[in-house]
């Protein structure tokens, strides 16, 4: 290695041609992105394809046009949005409360970690187990399937994610701001409203957006507890894919992907890396 090279190393430049990313590494990275986005691109292509699978591609927008006539799909889309909004509100409020509970207060030794684990158990157990359990639970209660069981399932499913996002903000929060407010005469409630809440707002909004998109895309829990006229869009799409005769499935999927990608992109930007 030349003197120039070692100087460049020492000032921390990344432009060293010998030690920079090899072309193999760049190629592998590129291929991974292709792997991640290829199938999404395929869905978009298929939604504009008049024929079926294969390399032949004839442009058409007829599937999007026929979406407008599918009242079942539009009804399910609207239902998924409604469920998503209700779940988002409940989950975010609970997440803010739980995040403070987990990170702020002096727990008796050992109880703090137990509370943390309890909240995060739903992240570990298979979702299918929870979906089936919830189905059995609501059947036993005589409530059966429908809007309420779906909302309950989605709240429990999104809550750990939302709590993590808000909790990260609570941990990062500069407590001297709150102390300064208190020193200046603000009571705890005013401090929370005027200082803590605004500082946490990016995390809270991100948690809300994540909760919405998780609920909007959730399939397995809905699969077991939906019914009685309340069929969310992913369950409807599942039926279309299983039947394999409805080409509109790609068009409605593009609509779903657009909604989730826009919301996920907004939420990821809000979150600090």
């Amino acid at each position: 290695m030349s003197v120039a090279d070692s100087i460049r190393d020492r000032v921390g430049s990344d432009s060293d041609p010998n030690d920079g990313a090899g072309s193999g590494l760049k190629l592998a990275t590129l291929l991974t992105y292709l792997f991640l986005y290829g199938p999404i691109l395929v869905v978009v292509l298929m939604s504009f394809d008049a024929g079926r699978y294969g390399l032949r591609w004839d442009f058409t927008t007829e599937w999007y046009a026929s979406l407008a006539t599918r009242s079942d799909l539009i009804g399910s889309l609207w239902l998924s949005i409604q469920i998503g909004i209700v779940v988002m509100i409940i989950s975010t409020v609970l997440a803010v409360v739980a995040a403070f509970g987990l990170s702020r207060f002096d727990w008796p030794k050992r109880k703090g970690p137990i509370a943390t684990y309890l909240i995060f158990v739903p992240l570990t157990l298979p979702i299918i187990i929870y979906g089936i359990g919830l189905f059995v639970f609501f059947t036993q209660l005589g409530i059966g399937r429908g809007f309420f069981p779906i909302v309950v399932g989605h709240v429990l499913y999104t809550l750990p994610f939302a709590t993590l996002v808000v909790g990260a903000g609570v941990i990062d929060l500069d407590r001297s701001l709150e102390e300064a407010a208190m020193d200046l005469g603000a009571d705890p409630l005013t401090t929370f409203r005027e200082v803590t809440l605004p500082a946490l707002m990016p995390n809270i909004v991100a948690a809300a957006l994540f909760s919405f998109t998780l609920s909007f895309d959730e399939f397995l829990i809905s699969f077991f507890v939906s019914g009685g006229g309340a069929v969310p869009l992913p369950v409807r799409i599942w039926g279309m894919v299983r039947a394999d005769i409805e080409p509109e499935v790609y068009a409605i999927s593009v609509v779903v992907l657009l909604i989730s990608i826009v919301i996920a992109a907004m939420a990821t930007r809000l979150r600090r890396f």
Partner: protein, 326 residues
């Protein structure tokens, strides 16, 4: 912040002005006790978790040990006995152990998917963590995260037009005169779909490890004459292994319980364990046996996490990234 600081802050904090009202003052005073704070902040959440999470899951455990209706019929182990057929084991008729074999295949597929996810994750995370230009880094990481937040159902069935007999890959192969490959409705379809759906779970924790890796260690190894591969093997790999294992365990437990992907892409040879659980509730109407199969899956998942924890793998770390980091 510690309670001593709270006390100190209280001492210098001016008292609330009287016109805020006595109710408000009483509320504030009450709200100052730690017990109240803990109860009010986590109470509702823990109650919700108990009623709507713990009870439904416990209900499955209860169903699994009753002949039929819980508490209205006798206790039994027959449902677990149907899973682990002792007579089939003693008579060495292992082909009769269809449920055990299915669980074994699911675990096997989960191992393959985990290994493939890790292999795919290393180059991209090494590039993103160590070589990506600073100003593109956040955008590139976001590009990995975003598909993760879109419907896995749609991202899974997107593979059907790619893998099917008249799909993109096989159309391309036959166009150039090669024989077509059976990629869909078998275990290959399951594996490809599962890697695709779960690879972000290994990419994200591994990226965190790669990002935190001090690049001067790699430079030092290279200055001392190590080849790129040797530097990776001796420096990068051991230092990023915890992140890789944490993500790997998570992919494993997710894959072992997969339902959607094998149902859409797996056919018969790619059939997985969670599918027979669903069958018991969806079409066979044998809730008790289905519950027993579900309990066995939970034991496998919790057992995996327990073993991982004993090996010092921080599964919670990957959850932090897998959940909040997404």
């Amino acid at each position: 912040m510690s309670s001593q600081d709270d006390v100190a802050a209280d001492a210098v904090r001016p008292q609330p002005t009287p016109e805020t009202g006595t109710l408000r003052e009483r509320v504030l005073e009450w709200a100052d006790s730690e017990v109240f704070k803990g109860a009010i902040s986590l109470g509702p959440v823990l109650l919700l978790l108990t009623v709507f999470y713990a009870v439904p899951v416990a209900l499955l455990l209860i169903y699994s040990i009753f002949v039929e209706d819980p508490f209205a019929s006798g206790l039994t182990f027959e449902h677990f006995g149907r899973f682990i057929d002792v007579s089939a084991i003693t008579s060495l008729q292992f082909s009769e152990l269809s449920y055990v074999r299915l669980l074994g295949r699911s675990i096997g597929i989960a191992v393959i998917v985990t290994v493939l996810s890790l292999v795919i994750s290393y180059p991209i995370t090494y590039y993103l963590g160590q070589h990506a230009p600073e100003r593109w880094k956040i955008a590139l990481v976001m590009l990995v995260i975003i598909p993760f937040w879109t419907s896995y159902l749609i991202r899974t069935y997107a593979w059907i037009p790619i893998l099917s007999n008249n799909g993109f890959i096989n159309s391309a192969l036959t166009t150039v005169g090669l024989p077509s490959l059976p990629l869909l409705n078998n275990y290959i379809g399951s594996i490809i779909g599962l890697v695709y759906v779960f690879v972000p779970f290994t990419i994200l924790p591994l990226y965190a490890s790669m990002e935190g890796l001090d690049s001067s260690l790699i430079e030092a190894a290279r200055d001392l004459g190590a080849s790129r591969w040797e530097a990776f093997r001796e420096v990068v790999f051991p230092l990023t292994l915890p992140g890789a294992l944490a993500g790997g365990v998570f992919v494993f437990i997710k894959t072992a319980a997969a339902y959607v992907t094998p149902s859409l892409l797996g056919g018969t040879s790619g059939r997985m364990y969670a599918q027979v659980i669903e069958t018991q509730f969806g079409t066979a109407f044998n809730w008790n046996f289905g519950a027993a199969l579900a309990v066995i899956l939970v034991v496998v998942v919790l057992g995996t996490i327990w073993i991982a924890a004993r090996w010092g793998i921080d599964v919670k770390g990957s959850r932090g990234l897998g959940g909040g980091g997404l």
